[in-house]
Amino acid sequence: MTTTRTKQVPRLDEMTRSELIQYLKDTVKPEEGLIPSYIFSHPKVYELEMEKIFLKDWLFIAHKSEIPNKGDFVTRELGGQSVIVTHGADGEIRVLLNVCTHRGMKLCRMDNGNQKNFTCPYHGFNFKNTGELIGIPFQKVVYGDTMDKSTMGLKEIRHDVYADLIFATLDDDAVSLDEFLGDIKWYLDLAFNRAEMEVVGLPQKWNVDGTWKLGSDNTISDSYHTLVSHGSIAKLGLVPTGDYSKYGYQIYTGNGHGLNLGMPNPDGFAFPENLINEYKERLHEDQYDILKQMKNMIVCVSPNIMILISSMELKGQQVSHTSLRIWKPTGPDSMEISAWVLVEKDAPEEWKRLSEQANTLTFGSSGIFEQDDTENFTDITQNSKSPYHLQENIVYNYTMGMHQEPVENFVGPGIVYKDKFNEANSRAFFRNWLDQITAE
């Protein structure tokens, strides 16, 4: 007796690469607001992402204020590859592959520090913080004259800086950082060029069994979830109840980058008053006008950066806090979150402390807003792993706001929608993502 099978689970791992790409094109339909669930955890999709996005895009690795002095360095990761970001003896910033050119040992296992040279723990090759190989134990004895040290320096990774944010790319053919960022720079200025900003300490890191994409998706377009996911905060009276998170704009600036701008701020100016002149000097007057009214700003720089300016009342004072994080993929269904806190360098010490405390209380690993998000990321990702989702081609609905038209009269660049409850930015993000991973 034979049974007839009406449905089959598409076997993505048995498909050729072009079949897989075709399958993605057939099933992911951003413009229709249809995003299939398998993309949130399938290892084959992850492989494409690593190759086509994380080995190619410009990725954030450090803020300049983390390495202010000659010799300062931080170690970071880039497309699964460890790198050392150094402030060289010559004053130059470099991004060096953290791989010894002799036999591949990780040269440095510290998070940060100040060093002129790095000595390899395996055989002791010694490199300057400019990447140059300067010492080999027993060189004369073991190599005679055959070793040319000048060809054995640490590999330097292409990097560039905008608004003190150091980006690097593993793709030498990538477009310039300037072109990659495009119009999102106008909004990055509000976060990082409004005043001289500095990172507080080092980024904290924690690990979530959820895909990095849900972090970016949530960042770029989801103000809607705050009503329920962060409903406890409204119940405590920390934010107004109801539709507070709706007011403002949702803006898409291209290349997968976009933001949600919450304004006006019913509670008044949330930035240090003593810096108003600095803000006015550094920002265009339209930008300053936005800063003046800003309640919050949540920016996604594709693929995996979230920048947040938020404000709240703490200890009787209206205070804003600024942070940057990356949703770093660590597998098809997991990520490590790294979160940096930044403050205005010339803000009063008291204000800085309050701003840091507000950030710790609300965002970061213990943040009372943030905590709830990781439940969503985890459960959506884990659900999507069931083969049933592939068999049924379960798709999620991203159609919110499709009936709306962008507004024309906004002062900043981008495609701008009035109010933040919209999924236009997610549709654009996933279109960009799909184009990237299906590119030949």
Binding site: N207, G231, I368, D372, T374
Partner: protein, 167 residues
């Protein structure tokens, strides 16, 4: 000597009781153990070169709380929308190596180890948060109250989805 033994016993019992209250989600009773002026701090553990340097950063704090913000965290957990702890994590706090470092007036400084086991929902893998505490306890009218807690985790990148729990 006998006084020392009694003090050691009292402090140990206090820490065990505290752990029990937290494991039983009895946050209000736990809050009663805290002094009004409490400082509740968790610095960031980092990988550092020199052994002489402390391998943590107090510039980056994972908890930076006082009695007002701790109250807020507890009140939040009581709302029916504190999703991060719905259902609540099953936790088991193992407190050990309790060493009284200093006694001054009615205050003691005590170091201890904490191994916190955390199980979420249907997860079959558990989160482990291990670290060291330095607490200051003050005796007021025969009752010990926590004046400050400093907790340093052993991981530089925490293997838990959030810190919706107390340490």
């Amino acid at each position: 000597m006998q006084e020392k033994i009694i003090l050691q016993y009292e402090i140990e019992q206090w820490l065990y009781k505290e752990a029990e209250l937290l494991d039983e989600l009895n946050f209000d009773a736990w809050y009663e153990l805290l002094d009004e002026e409490i400082k509740y701090i968790m610095p960031l553990r980092i990988n550092q070169m020199e052994e002489s340097k402390p391998d943590y950063s107090e510039a980056t704090l994972l908890f930076d709380d006082d009695s007002t913000t701790l109250r807020l965290r507890i009140d939040r957990l009581k709302t029916d929308m504190a999703w991060a702890e719905l259902p609540p994590s099953r936790t088991r706090r193992n407190v050990s190596n309790v060493k009284i470092k200093e006694v001054s007036g009615n205050e003691v400084t005590v170091r201890s180890n904490l191994l916190l086991y955390r199980s979420r929902s249907t997860d079959t893998t558990a989160d482990l948060i291990s670290g060291e505490r330095e607490d200051v306890l003050r005796n007021e009218n025969g009752k010990w109250k926590l004046v400050s807690r400093w907790f340093l985790a052993d991981q530089t990148s925490l293997a838990t989805r959030n810190l919706a729990i107390f340490v």
